[in-house]
Amino acid sequence: MPYVLMIISAVLVNNIVLTQFLGICPFLGVSKRFSTALGMGGGVIFVMTLSTIITYLIQTYLLVPFKIEFMQTIIYILVIAALVQMVEIMLKKVSPALYQALGVYLPLITTNCTILGVAILVIRKEFNLMESTVFAISNSIGFTFALIIFSGIRERLELLEIPEAMKGIPLALVLAGLLSLAFMGFSGIVH
């Protein structure tokens, strides 16, 4: 698949949050403020790209030759957890400014299902290394894109008066539904 199509498809048409239902927890949890959404998005782009490349290499050079593909889930989640810790330690030493911006979001990323999801998806879709990398980058951009739009809407909603029972999560979910409906308008531009 040409890379440009792949990027458009992942960001707009098959957006990982709004149509694939991955990463809903952070999508609802950290989308109250525009700045936190940006921070979380940055962290996800960084970790997802790195972890997809590493897990891809582990799959090709370790799990497949030794015929232990059934260990996939357990090894991937350990790699992701270790990677997040390492990134945190390194970031603290190398770039304290960036650590200040992303630091609080890093521990949350381990249990962000988009990371493990994309790492497994690239194997199931039988991509090569280059395709996997592009797939990871474009999906993490798609995640960030959805998160940022969503936080923008939610910031404005705070000024409105809404029924007590709808406050918070219920309204956020209905909004996500409308946003997802809007994104469906993009379907067809890739095919």
Binding site: N14, I68, F70, M71, I74, K125, S187, G188, H191
Partner: protein, 192 residues
Amino acid sequence: MSKKPSTFFNMVGTLFIISFFSSAALGFVYEMTKGPIAKATLEKKIKAIQEVVPAFDNHPLDEVYSVDIDEGTLFFYPAKKNNKLVGTAVETLTTKGFSGIIKLMVGLLPDGTINNIVVVETHETPGLGDKIKKEKSDFSKQFTGKNPSLFTLKVKKDGGSVDAITAATISSRAFCDAVIKGYQAYKKEVRK
């Protein structure tokens, strides 16, 4: 809370022991389920073949041959009765589906007429694109008994004779695409 202090030795040791035991347990379960998984996969394939071609008495899985095309590999399972070819089940695929790959088992009679089609693998949207499955709508039944040399395997929007599923033109197109690929590869093989 834990009674064990978090010394380096304790931490590494515990992690190692837990990982060791879970790997051993997984290896054991893997060995146990390997047989059933392989058997279930095989049975699914045989069932799909039985559904698409007329009754046969050979083992089509043992006589399989394959053809490589751009998007992947097509498999041909010849079904024979009393050593006479009664049909060929073609496992064909397309990557043009709305959500990626679609695999079909297309049953072709020796003259190329479509006998029956079942969907082997699909990730199409439930309620929309997954109507290509026989149990979800009559879409795939319109191919039965048609010979692709007389019947244009394209949706009506593209000038063909296939009624597309409402609101799922992409999936319908992809379905036709997979059938055409299977048919063309079959014709090429037969001519050899």
